[in-house]
Symmetry: C2
Subunit: 358 residues, 2 copies
């Protein structure tokens, strides 16, 4: 498939790591160490090796890649979008761990379109990615589960491994690894934080029925209300996607209907909180003086707006996904489902003020 320059034998033999070592005047072990990127090396040595790699147009593991099921050099992650900092931070964890393991990392983006997802997973499989990590919020319906089961079996048959990250498990007969984080626990904790400060009318931003992530977060919110004996008022749950502009839209709409009938806001993620904060400010309402607010995710925007939020271990999710998939790949007989749940915790900043209980 790949065009490869010849190494000096008339083009009948692909360049090997030995050719590179000989050309650079160093040992094979040195070339291997430098190409894996996991050990320090002297700049001069590195320079010689990279020059030889370029001049011989060496493609590392080119031989191994031609063998069915042989180990590859890349791990793949598939996300809706790289602009969403949630996805970006998980992808960063994947990239970091891939680098530690001496692998490349490739990211496929789908724009949330199942057909692009299918085509992307097929491409990753063709390229012998060692694992394919799918991230984030989904509609957990039959069509989704059927699609994932197909991916899992096709990847497994090709010697690769499906990993679901921040998504629910598929079932014991599907060869997929699952790395989740505790959405319900985090949402329960941060809602309890507001309730403990005396808040009873807590607006929830970002209800999105059918989608796994907002459903888990609103479940934690409702459980906490119930634990504190606060009646559940569906009119306090505002529907929308988990984007900044949606938070702005929801609060703007709510305040257009009259003065706030809530003392606190639980934004389904930090981006919603940032948008909501802007709409509050345009109405002359300040956080936390007038309205308390909490978010979810602990992305950089939360630090910028001094938001108390739930820390999601995004990078750890990505690192764990790669680590487990590569360990798993070493034991092909153990293709039973594996399921990891990472914890979440509150990060307290300056966005909540206690009030007297009503």
């Amino acid at each position: 498939m790949a065009r490869r320059a010849t190494s000096g034998d008339g083009g009948r033999r692909p360049t090997t790591i030995r050719d590179v070592a000989a050309h650079a005047g160093v040992s094979v072990a040195t070339v291997s160490r430098i190409l894996s990127g996991t050990y320090p090396s002297a700049p001069a040595t590195r320079g010689k090796v990279m020059k030889a790699v370029r001049e011989l147009d060496y493609v590392a593991n080119a031989n191994a890649r031609g063998l069915a099921g042989a180990s590859s050099r890349s791990v793949a992650i598939v996300v809706n979008s790289v602009v969403s900092p949630h996805y970006a931070h998980v992808a960063q964890g994947v990239q970091t761990q891939a680098a530690l393991e001496g692998k490349l990392c490739i990211v496929g983006t789908t724009g949330g379109d199942p057909e692009r997802e299918l085509a992307t997973v097929q491409l990753m499989r063709q390229e012998h990615a060692e694992c394919v990590i799918l991230v984030g919020n989904v509609v957990n319906d039959d069509a989704y589960r059927a699609r994932m089961a197909d991916y899992a079996r096709a990847l497994s048959a090709a010697g690769s491994q499906l990993v679901l990250c921040g998504r629910p498990a598929l079932g014991p007969d599907v060869p997929a690894l699952v790395i989740e984080y505790d959405n319900i626990g985090g949402a329960h904790a941060v809602t309890s934080h507001l309730l403990s400060a005396g808040h009873r009318r807590i607006l929830f931003l970002g209800r999105h029925d059918g989608y796994t992530t907002p459903e888990a977060r609103i479940a934690g919110y409702r459980n906490a209300l119930s634990d504190f004996g606060v009646p559940h008022d569906p009119a306090l749950e505002l529907h929308g996607r988990m984007e900044r502009a949606e938070g702005y839209r929801m609060i703007r709409g709510r305040l257009a209907d009259g003065p706030p009938d809530f003392s606190a806001i639980f934004a389904g993620n930090d981006l919603l909180a940032a948008g909501a904060r802007q709409a509050l400010r345009e109405h002359g309402l300040r956080i936390p003086d007038d309205i308390s607010m909490v978010g979810f995710d602990d992305l950089p925007t939360a630090a910028d707006i001094d938001l108390t939020t739930v820390h999601v271990p995004h990078e750890e999710l990505g690192r764990t996904a790669v680590r487990l998939a590569l360990r798993h790949g070493q034991d092909r007989s153990a293709l039973t489902e594996q399921h990891v749940l990472l914890g979440t915790h509150i990060v307290v900043r300056d966005s909540v003020r206690p009030i007297r209980p009503h």
Copy 2:
């Protein structure tokens, strides 16, 4: 290479789009439209087609991919990191345009390591990416230019195309497309904005000699000072990388030395501004009441902290890169260098207050 299930002829023939259409009971044109993702389609039709694609394990363009130099289905972008919103927004533009053109988008991450960059570009070339887009800030030295020229020629020989995005041109004999944006003009305009408001002692955050992006931004800053007849004071230029934590570090260090000897700050990008703002607040200094500040990039964090900044057309950079590369690919005889410069402009928010001239 790729494992492909058989279509019903005993496995001697790969599945074609006609097989998918027959299996789904629709026309070839319908399958093509649905797989390209560029036209609306009825959910029922889409469902039938996707079911056929899964059952036949159809890999679109699998035949074409086998032919040397034939058109592929993917465009590739290589970035240091997907966590940096600058890179993420360019990658988003690439993904958007790729989807419009019916292509997949794959993103390679390098962590800034030239060896990983080399391995990633090789992988992209092996996979017949139609173009390989490299983004962002670099040390524009001989080693860099030699590496890029190697990439450009290797990709061109493989029927692909190197695109440099937000990087300087390589020279007329190197077959690379270059899409830049106006760093110097933007920095000049936003510095002039501070100067027009009466500021004379303007701290510059993020000087990083040798790196193309900060060098261009500081050049615009110095030019504007010169145009306003303000003497250049090198003590006002603080060195550091363009990251949030660095902005915090620089301002913390500066204020530890004594009260501010500046009335305004030009942060080399919005992340530096966010970090600087945090350090200012810890010293009880408010923006814009005590210190004026401007940034660069117009990333979401700028809206969160109400920062006047320079808008960089990140997504347009990505879209233009794909558009030009794919058009270019249609005329292989025109492999001369092509160079596009996109404009930048100020976005005024609430972070600058006029002062009396000194």
